[in-house]
């Protein structure tokens, strides 16, 4: 991989170069929290943010998206709305890039999703390394370091950002910046290793995930699920903020008195009571306990069976967002360690 370095004081200059690759978006502070949004000024970018409220998922799988238009004369026609808008998303943490890589798997496969794929190609990703806070467990989920899924990846090594060039587009960005980038020296490599070591030592949370699928299998009837069902409000916030939750609902919207309309998909959550409803009114997950259990199972057990890893990247968003403080780390630790909650 091509690796260069960018002097920190040149970052704003580089950001202006990036505008030719698309509308530049970055984390911005809003009422003490952070959101990814279009930058009016480079100085608005908050690159030392902890985590954004919504993950970059919103750029590749928008909360609401028109798939098709229907007209009587033309039938169904694909909607292309803002599909081809070019965006440069600056300042994405490794875990969130990993989240996108997981979504890539889901939206590929036998039936690639052209909406997702088109957006993914049109959103350039410039990653930035970070220091974990008390809710981060990306290291446990093996998402603290990312090798692909970005165009450029920046790592703060003091006076410079070490810059990993991940794609041809990333290389074009670097080349467009003229002489801003410099070659990497032995000292820079050593500084990177020290940074990496410091990051590792900064983690406060650690869970073992290797045998989680088996533990989940064995604890399917554990009492903890009923307890969680009592607490969970089925609000779906954890799904909305999750970088890898991709469930969606599809609805047809029709103009009154007409058969012309559109087919829209919108974020959904397996915690909503309608998620497993079938025609005729049967519901395969009627209780809240069954739904929250399903969410954990799908992420930590089912996804592993299908894709070889859990669909959790340890970003901590569900922990900080849950209104009743359901904490995935506590759940896993309880399942793992406490016999008294098991098979009661």
């Amino acid at each position: 991989m091509k690796i260069l370095k960018l002097p920190k004081q040149q970052l704003d200059l580089f950001a202006s170069v990036l505008q030719q690759f698309g509308e530049v978006h970055a984390p911005v502070e809003r009422k003490g929290k952070y959101v990814f949004e279009h930058l009016e000024r480079w100085s608005d970018a908050a690159l030392d943010y902890d985590r954004t409220v919504l993950p970059p998922k919103k750029y590749v799988l928008p909360p609401r998206e028109t798939l098709l238009e229907y007209r009587r004369d033309t039938g169904y026609v694909p909607a292309t709305e803002d599909l081809n808008k070019k965006i440069v998303l600056f300042g994405v943490h490794p875990c969130d890039i990993y989240g996108l890589n997981i979504l890539d798997e889901v939206f590929a496969g036998k039936y690639p999703d052209p909406y997702y794929q088109t957006r993914r190609q049109n959103v350039a990703i410039i990653g930035i390394d970070c220091v974990p806070d008390e809710h981060c467990f990306c290291r446990s989920m093996r998402a603290d370091f990312v090798e692909h899924g970005f165009d450029l990846f920046l790592c703060d090594i003091g006076e410079y950002y070490l810059t990993f060039v991940g794609t041809a587009r990333g290389d074009d960005m670097v080349l467009s910046a003229g002489a801003l980038f410099e070659d990497v020296t032995r000292e820079d490599i050593d500084a990177y290793k020290r940074h990496s070591e410091a990051k590792r030592e900064a983690f406060k949370l650690d869970v073992e995930i290797r045998d989680l699928p088996e533990i989940f299998e064995m604890e399917y009837r554990a009492e903890i699920w009923e307890e969680l069902g009592q607490r969970c409000l089925s609000c779906g916030s954890c799904s909305m903020v999750c970088p890898t939750c991709y469930c969606y609902d599809v609805v047809d919207e029709v103009e009154l008195g007409s058969t012309e309309g559109r087919r829209v998909r919108q974020w959904d959550s397996c915690l909503f009571s309608t998620h497993a409803l079938v025609a005729g009114g049967d519901n395969f997950r009627e209780s809240r306990a069954s739904r929250i259990k399903f969410r954990f199972y799908h992420k930590q057990r089912g996804f592993v069976a299908e894709f070889g890893r859990p669909s959790c990247i340890g970003c901590g968003r569900c922990i900080v967002t849950c209104p009743v403080k359901i904490d995935i780390i506590e759940v896993i630790n309880q399942l793992r360690g406490a016999e008294h909650v098991a098979n009661a």
């Binding site: 798939l67 098709l68 229907y70 009587r72 039938g75 169904y76 694909p78 292309t80 890589n101 997981i102 890539d104 798997e105 889901v106 939206f107 590929a108 496969g109 036998k110 039936y111 690639p112 999703d113 052209p114 909406y115 794929q117 088109t118 692909h148 794609t167 399917y220 991709y246 469930c247 969606y248 609902d249 599809v250 609805v251 047809d252 029709v254 007409s258 058969t259 087919r263 998909r265 959904d268 397996c270 998620h275 497993a276 409803l277 079938v278 025609a279 005729g280 395969f284 997950r285 069954s290 399903f294 199972y297 799908h298 057990r301 089912g302 996804f303 069976a305 299908e306 070889g308 890893r309």
Partner: protein, 290 residues
């Protein structure tokens, strides 16, 4: 572990949009049973009609313009191409809209989706079909596929149960099979209020007393409401059927049909791409299956 994205292998193309329905005309409505009609469709485009090749047990996503989309299993056999037959019960919003359509109206169809029955594995063996009520809809495709390719299968047995003769789907069609020598067709009703029924009266599992099946040489395909599964599975297991030789067709509320939207998940499988046909062994090992 996650694979590296291959930028060359995938170039997004909205022309290969899996969400885009192909238009088909409603050419016939057969009012088989009250609230359970058989709808026949033909694709408007001949090339699309020719390209539509399905396996027994697969389903389509049916769009009724202005209403929405729902998964419907295919009742016609691939051995009788050209039209698509969907047996639909009027049960919800979309199916009610379908019942308001007239012949000549146009709908959208995507698919076929799902794994379908493993017909190649069943070839050279006996085939036992056991259906209760609307469970006949996906099994009819397999039945006619087997009858139209009769030489590829050894014994073919159909056990089909409905509440009353008026509730029996494809009644005339199956009654005409009763006298055929190359298929054992056991039709039964729970009760016969009209007194005109000439076949069996009794619960579906009692049909096992009317014939013999050899579990060593037979694949069983079962579909019906939960109570049918419970009692039929009991009989099959008692006979000594291997759990992976019992095939079941499941239904869920699919929104995409292509393994993305998450709605049809059972345990950790998606009914739309891992199913809708599962072996009993799969079913046993997946929570919330039936």
């Amino acid at each position: 572990m996650l694979q590296m994205r291959d930028e060359i292998a995938y170039e997004p193309a909205l022309t290969e949009n899996p969400y885009l329905p192909k238009m088909a005309r409603l050419v016939n409505i057969y009012k088989m049973v009250a609230d359970n009609h058989l709808f026949t469709f033909r694709f408007l485009d001949d090339a699309q009609a020719a390209a539509f090749q399905h396996r027994p047990g697969q389903f389509v996503m049916l769009s009724v313009p202005g209403c929405g989309e729902a998964p419907i299993s295919i009742s016609s056999s691939p051995s009788r191409p050209g039209v698509l037959e969907l047996c639909v019960r009027r049960v919800g919003r979309l199916t009610s809209a379908l019942y308001r359509l007239n012949t000549g109206d146009v709908v959208g169809v995507r698919g076929p989706y799902g794994n379908g029955f493993p017909v190649e594995r069943i070839e050279g063996k006996d085939l036992l079909l056991v259906a209760g009520g609307l469970g006949m809809a996906p099994l009819r495709s397999l039945l006619w596929y087997a009858l139209d390719n009769r030489a590829r299968f050894v014994r073919i047995t159909l056990m089909y149960g409905a509440k009353t003769p008026r509730d029996m789907l494809f009644r005339e069609e199956f009654e005409s099979l009763v006298d055929r020598a190359d298929v054992t067709c056991l039709l039964t009703v729970d009760r016969d209020p009209s007194g005109t029924w000439r076949n069996h009266v009794g619960l579906l599992p009692t049909m096992f007393d009317m014939t013999t099946v050899d579990p060593a040489t037979t694949y069983a395909a079962v579909c019906g409401p939960p109570i049918v599964y419970r009692f039929v599975l009991e009989r099959l297991l008692a006979l000594g059927f291997a759990k992976d030789r019992i095939l079941m067709s499941l239904e869920r509320r699919m929104k995409c049909g292509v393994g993305k939207c998450g709605h049809c998940s059972v345990g950790y499988k998606y009914t739309c791409i891992h199913g809708p046909i599962f072996t009993y062994w799969d079913a046993m090992n997946l929570p919330e299956m039936i």
